[in-house]
Structures are given as structure tokens and as C-alpha cells.
């Protein structure tokens, strides 16, 4: 019981994020004319996927006490690479996908090397590598365009049932159990679950993964305990690159093209930091996790979804004014990140604030 309470208390930020998301999304689904349908869920999951991945990519370096300002550029780079590689024969597509993921992981690894061996502060190192990655993306795709396999695009952005109609899994038609239940699950949700359960959870339970938390909360102590802090850091940035690559790959599938859009890359980077904070990860490092960032990103997306559905003649009609939405989103973002200020009013000794 005590153990449960401890676990709950340590992840309070995460639970707040989950609660906020559930409330916001329930509100949105109730107000939306097509609410609580698979179609709407598929559409929203598609719109959220890239930001979720980029936010998870941001979360891992932040846990180590660093930051990665190149997550947006890495996503853009992989997006452009995918628009070159992911088409043609099935073999070429599989190789292309693997190459895209490897390119993202490599970009993250380079970040890690500069931070660990170059000993440059992460904020400025990733700022510079971000420029390099955007440059490579522009080199690959000077103007928006390219081609991504259409079947794969269709399958990745729809419910699981489309996988059967496209690739004919079941020669005799889908059995009832598939069509009724599993077939209704959106593919992006399956992909996110796969990334979380097959990559993030196993990683967090390794010595290297736990080392990331140790480095973030007390680097010196982690070093003195014999942890390989360099390897933990390196792994954190590499994993960040891999997650960003997943986001970029999905963006390519979703839009069917590549686009080296610099403002978009910047917006994704900044939103990822906000999502990480909303999801209960401290920017000082040592706490939180990628799952929190996932829900942080969902909260940000749910907020912007909500503004779409307010009835313009209703009592909250002024909220649906498109001109006012940016300021509402800004104020909510500012309030959300200021939630962390609650600790200021609880401290017993003001000196503990100066950390």
C-alpha cells in the first residue's frame, strides 16, 4: 500500500496530465457532432502522432538534465529522407523505413557524442546540430514534394481493418472478432503502444536507462556510484533521435510527401518542451518519463481540438473565434507550465529554491 502511494506520489505530474487529457478529450468528443466514433479517433490520432513522438524524443534527454533543441529538425530530416526512400518494391520500402529510423538514431547519436565527448552544453550543441540537420533536409528536399508508398500511407493513417482490405491478411474475408473489435483500433495508437512497450519500457528498466534518471538527479553521485554516465547520456540522445525519426516517418506517411519546413521544425521543438513539462517531467532532470510526455502532447493537442467545437452562438461562443484561439492557447500553455510554481508556496526554506 505504501509502495503504491509512493509510486503515485512520484508520478503526480503524469497523473495530472492524464486527467487533464481525459477531461479535455471527453469534452471535445461530447461537443463534436461526430464525437465518440472511430473516424474521429483516427483523425485525431493522426494529427497527434508526430507531436507525441517528438515530445517523447525530448523527454529522454530532459530526464538526464539536458535538452534537445534538434528534435524538430531531426523529425524534418527523417520526413524528407522518407519522401526519397519509402517507395517502390516491398523490399525497398522496408529497407527505406529501416534507413530512416537509423538516420534518426544516428543524428541523435551525433548529438550525444558532441554533448558527452565534446562537453558542450546540450542547449547550444543541439541548437547548432539542429541547423545542420535542417540543412541536410533542405539538401534532400529543396522544395516540398517526393513520393511515399500510397498503400503504406493509407494503412498507417487508418483503423486496423484497412490493413486487411489493403494487404489481404485473411483470404476468406475478416473474421467477426477482428472486424468488430480489433479492426476498429486506429493504427497510430497501435504504433504508439508498440513504441512505448517495445522500446521505452524495456529501455527504462536497463541499467543504462535507470542511469539516465541518476545522471539527471545527481550527476556526481551517479559517477561516484560507478555508473557509466557517458553511456547513459549517449543512449538518451540516441533514443531521442530514434523517437524523432518515428515522428518524421509518420509525418511523411501522413502527408505523402517531404517538406523541409524550418518554422514547422521550430514549432515542433518548442511544443515538445511544453509537452514534456505539462507531462510532469522536470526541466532540471531526474524525474518524469516519456509516457508523461506522451500525455503532455495529447493535452496540448486536445486543447487545440477543443477550440474547434465550441458553438459560436452558445455561451462560450467567443472561444470559437479563430482570431482569439492563439491567445487562449498561449495563456493555457503559460498557466500549465506555471503549475510547477506550486512548490514555491510549500517550501520551508527559501534556500532550497535556488537549485
Amino acid at each position: 500500500m505504501n509502495d503504491l502511494r509512493l509510486r503515485f506520489g512520484q508520478n503526480l505530474g503524469l497523473w495530472l496530465g492524464v486527467l487533464l487529457f481525459v477531461l479535455l478529450y471527453a469534452l471535445y468528443s461530447t461537443l463534436h457532432p461526430k464525437g465518440w466514433t472511430v473516424d474521429l479517433l483516427v483523425q485525431n490520432a493522426n494529427e497527434s502522432f508526430a507531436l507525441i513522438m517528438v515530445s517523447m524524443a525530448q523527454a529522454v534527454p530532459v530526464i538526464t538534465g539536458g535538452i534537445d533543441l534538434s528534435v524538430g529538425p531531426m523529425m524534418t530530416l527523417v520526413n524528407c529522407l522518407a519522401s526519397v526512400l519509402v517507395s517502390g518494391t516491398p523490399g525497398a520500402i522496408v529497407l527505406g523505413i529501416l534507413a530512416c529510423l537509423a538516420a534518426g538514431a544516428l543524428a541523435g547519436f551525433v548529438n550525444g557524442c558532441i554533448v558527452v565527448y565534446g562537453r558542450i552544453q546540450p542547449i547550444i550543441a543541439t541548437l547548432a546540430t539542429g541547423a545542420v540537420y535542417i540543412g541536410i533536409a533542405l539538401f534532400l528536399r529543396p522544395s516540398p514534394g517526393g513520393k511515399v508508398d500510397e498503400n503504406l500511407s493509407w494503412v498507417a493513417t487508418n483503423a486496423l481493418a484497412e490493413m486487411d482490405t489493403t494487404y489481404h491478411w485473411f483470404p476468406d474475408g475478416p473474421p467477426a472478432w477482428f472486424a468488430e473489435t480489433l479492426g476498429r483500433v486506429p493504427v497510430p495508437i497501435v504504433l504508439i503502444l508498440a513504441v512505448v512497450l517495445l522500446i521505452w519500457v524495456p529501455f527504462r528498466n536497463t541499467v543504462t536507462g535507470r542511469g539516465c534518471y541518476a545522471v539527471g538527479s545527481a550527476e556526481g553521485a551517479a559517477y561516484m556510484s560507478g555508473l557509466d554516465i557517458g553511456r547513459s547520456r549517449l543512449a538518451a540522445y540516441t533514443l531521442g533521435g530514434l523517437f524523432a525519426a518515428c515522428g518524421g516517418l509518420y509525418l511523411a506517411l501522413q502527408t505523402g510527401s517531404g517538406n523541409a519546413d524550418i518554422p514547422q521544425a521550430g514549432a515542433y521543438t518548442l511544443n515538445s518542451i511544453a509537452a514534456v513539462v505539462v507531462g510532469g517531467t522536470s526541466l532540471y532532470g531526474g524525474s518524469g518519463g516519456a509516457v508523461g510526455a506522451l500525455f503532455g502532447a495529447l493535452v496540448l493537442r486536445a486543447i487545440s481540438f477543443c477550440f474547434r467545437v465550441f458553438d459560436s452562438n452558445g455561451p462560450l461562443g467567443f472561444l470559437s473565434n479563430p482570431l482569439l484561439q492563439p491567445i487562449f492557447e498561449g495563456v493555457i500553455l503559460l498557466l500549465a507550465v506555471s503549475l510547477g510554481a506550486a512548490r514555491v508556496f510549500r517550501v520551508k526554506n527559501r534556500l532550497t529554491l535556488f537549485t
Binding site: I67, I114, G118, R119, I120, Q121, I123, I124, A125, L127, A128, T129, G130, A131, V132, I134, G135, I136, A137, L138, F139, P142, E219, G220, Y223, M224, I229, P263, G266, L270, I273, A274, V277, L283, Y284, P322, L323, L324, Q325, P326, I327, F328, E329, G330, V331, L333, L334, V337, S338, G340, A341, R343, V344, R350, L351, L353, F354
Partner: protein
């Protein structure tokens, strides 16, 4: 003597790098066009004039970075200052623009000093709010966005032979150097950047230092916004976006520690000139955007590897 050399090394290397960029650029133009464009006084003066806008932003950013903080609300502070100033117009344009900077700085400072929200995320939120305010302002109707005569004169007039923007930059620089090196407030900024708890225990009101520094930073950004609007004779929405990252790069390349507490103002000036010259030479050499971004990032990494490395963890 050795300590002095360690502090001066970034500026020395950055200075050499500027010479190298000019040399490489000249070699390129001499071989392709037969002219030495980059070492002509007219060209250099033109570059200094353009550098003034970035230089003023970097100057403010440096004060905040010296504290160990950062200000990501720069882009929309620049835009908001210019847009509100041009919308008001007339004699009140400049006070309104600078007032925007003051207000933004105050909000940033209060958030960081009293709520203790990390500056990176708080100023990011303020940036989003400013953007929303400006969309609200310009969305329903189109306020006038033409720069007033005074703004144009400040940015491009040249009664003394050199552009007024350069003179504004020089005056601001002199004031900042005096503040950083000769006033208690300036020393407090370095002290907070080195160890805030120790500064607090020494009886200094660190909250006031934080608020004052953010106000300086955002007033500088607002001033730059007014000058940019004067230079392009218009205020527009995304005008500040291209200044944030170069400003941080200029400060860091100039040898200021991104963690705060260490850095000299001359370094920021050299860093600004380096960034502006690099961008200019690459565009004259008709380097495509892709190559420009890659070289830009690579130069920053290389310079930091040369002198910006932290110390290894040893228990």
C-alpha cells in the same frame, strides 16, 4: 595573466575566424568576379549597419544568459513592439514600442523570480501569449503597419556619416559595458549567474536582479524591433523569428558561458559581427539555403569545441 588569457581566448579565436571568413570570401569573389567586394569599406559599413539589429538583441540576451537564464520570448517581443508602435504611430510610437519591451520583461522577470518557473519554458509561454495578442490585434482589422518618420530616421538616417542604427548600437553598448563592469547591479548579475544562493545569502535582493535583467533584455529586443521596422519601413508578424537563434549563437560564440556567470561584452559584439558576416558571405557566394544552414551549425560547433568545453565530471 593566465586567467586573463583564458577569458580572452574566445574573442581572439572569434576575431581570427572573422578575418578567415573575410579572406575566404574575398578569395571567392576575386576568382569568380574579379572584385574584392568583402574588403571594400562600403560593404563593411553596410554589414555593420545590418549587424546593429542583431547586435542590440544579442546585447540584451547576453545580460539574461549571464544570469544562467534564457529568453525565448524575443521573437514576438520584437514583432509586438514594432507592430504596436506602428499601429499607434505619431510621437507615441517609440514610447509605446519600448513600453512593450518593459512590460514583457516585467512579466518574464516576475515569472522567473517569484514563481521560479524555469526561464526557458516561462518565456516560451510568454512568447505564445504575445503571438496570440498580435493575431487578435491584426486579425479583425488591419491597423497601419508603416514605420513612422522617426523610426525610419533612427534606422537609416546618417547625419553623422554612419547610419544612426550603428550609433544607437554603440551608445547602448557603452551603457551596457558601464553597467556590467562599473555598477553594483552589473556585478550582481555575474554573482547570480555564478551562484544564486550565495548571492542571496550575501543580502542581495536576487529577485530584483532577475526582474531588472529581463527588463533590460526585452527593452533591447523592443528597441531592435523598432529599428528593424524602420529599416524595412514596415512591421510584420514573423519579423522577429530570425533573430532568436542567431542572438543566442552570437552570445555563446563570443565566449559567454551559457550556464551564466562568465562572459565579456566585447565577445558578444565580435560574435554578432561573426554571425552576420558568415551569413552575408554565404549568401554572396550563392550558397543554397541547405549549405548555409550546415556551415552555420558546423561553425558554431567548431568554435565551441575550440573554447566552450565544460569540465569533466569527477565526483
Amino acid at each position: 595573466m593566465k586567467a586573463l588569457a583564458a577569458i580572452d581566448r574566445p574573442m581572439l579565436i572569434a576575431g581570427l575566424c572573422i578575418v578567415l571568413i573575410l579572406f575566404a570570401g574575398t578569395a571567392y569573389t576575386v576568382t569568380t568576379q574579379g572584385t574584392a567586394t568583402f574588403i571594400e569599406p562600403a560593404y563593411l559599413l553596410q554589414q555593420i549597419k545590418i549587424a546593429a539589429f542583431l547586435g542590440i538583441v544579442s546585447a540584451g540576451m547576453m545580460v539574461v544568459i549571464l544570469l544562467g537564464h534564457i529568453d525565448l520570448s524575443i521573437p514576438w517581443t520584437i514583432a509586438a513592439s514594432a507592430m504596436l508602435a506602428t499601429a499607434v504611430g505619431g510621437g507615441w510610437a517609440l514610447p509605446v514600442g519600448l513600453g512593450v519591451g518593459l512590460a514583457v520583461g516585467l512579466v518574464n522577470g516576475l515569472g522567473v523570480a517569484f514563481l521560479r518557473v524555469p526561464s526557458m519554458i516561462f518565456t516560451l509561454g510568454v512568447n505564445a501569449v504575445l503571438r496570440g495578442l498580435m493575431v487578435m490585434l491584426t486579425g479583425g482589422f488591419a491597423p497601419q503597419s508603416n514605420a513612422t518618420g522617426l523610426m525610419v530616421w533612427l534606422a537609416t538616417g546618417r547625419p553623422l556619416g554612419i547610419a544612426n542604427s550603428v550609433i544607437v548600437w554603440a551608445l547602448l553598448s557603452a551603457a551596457l559595458v558601464f553597467m556590467l563592469t562599473r555598477t553594483p547591479f552589473g556585478r550582481y548579475i555575474y554573482a547570480v549567474g555564478n551562484r544564486e544562493a550565495a548571492t542571496y545569502l550575501s543580502g542581495i535582493n536576487t529577485r530584483l536582479v532577475l526582474i531588472g535583467s529581463f527588463i533590460i533584455c526585452d527593452v533591447c529586443a523592443a528597441l531592435s524591433g523598432l529599428l528593424i521596422a524602420g529599416y524595412t519601413s514596415k512591421a510584420f508578424q514573423a519579423m522577429g523569428d530570425v533573430y532568436l537563434l542567431p542572438a543566442i549563437a552570437a552570445v555563446v560564440v563570443g565566449g559567454t558561458n551559457i550556464l551564466g556567470g562568465q562572459g565579456r561584452y566585447l565577445g558578444t559584439v565580435i560574435g554578432t559581427v561573426l554571425i552576420v558576416l558568415l551569413q552575408s558571405v554565404l549568401s554572396v557566394a550563392q550558397m543554397p539555403e541547405a549549405g548555409r544552414q550546415i556551415i552555420y551549425g558546423a561553425v558554431i560547433i567548431a568554435m565551441l569545441l575550440a573554447y566552450g568545453r565544460g569540465s569533466a565530471v569527477r565526483g
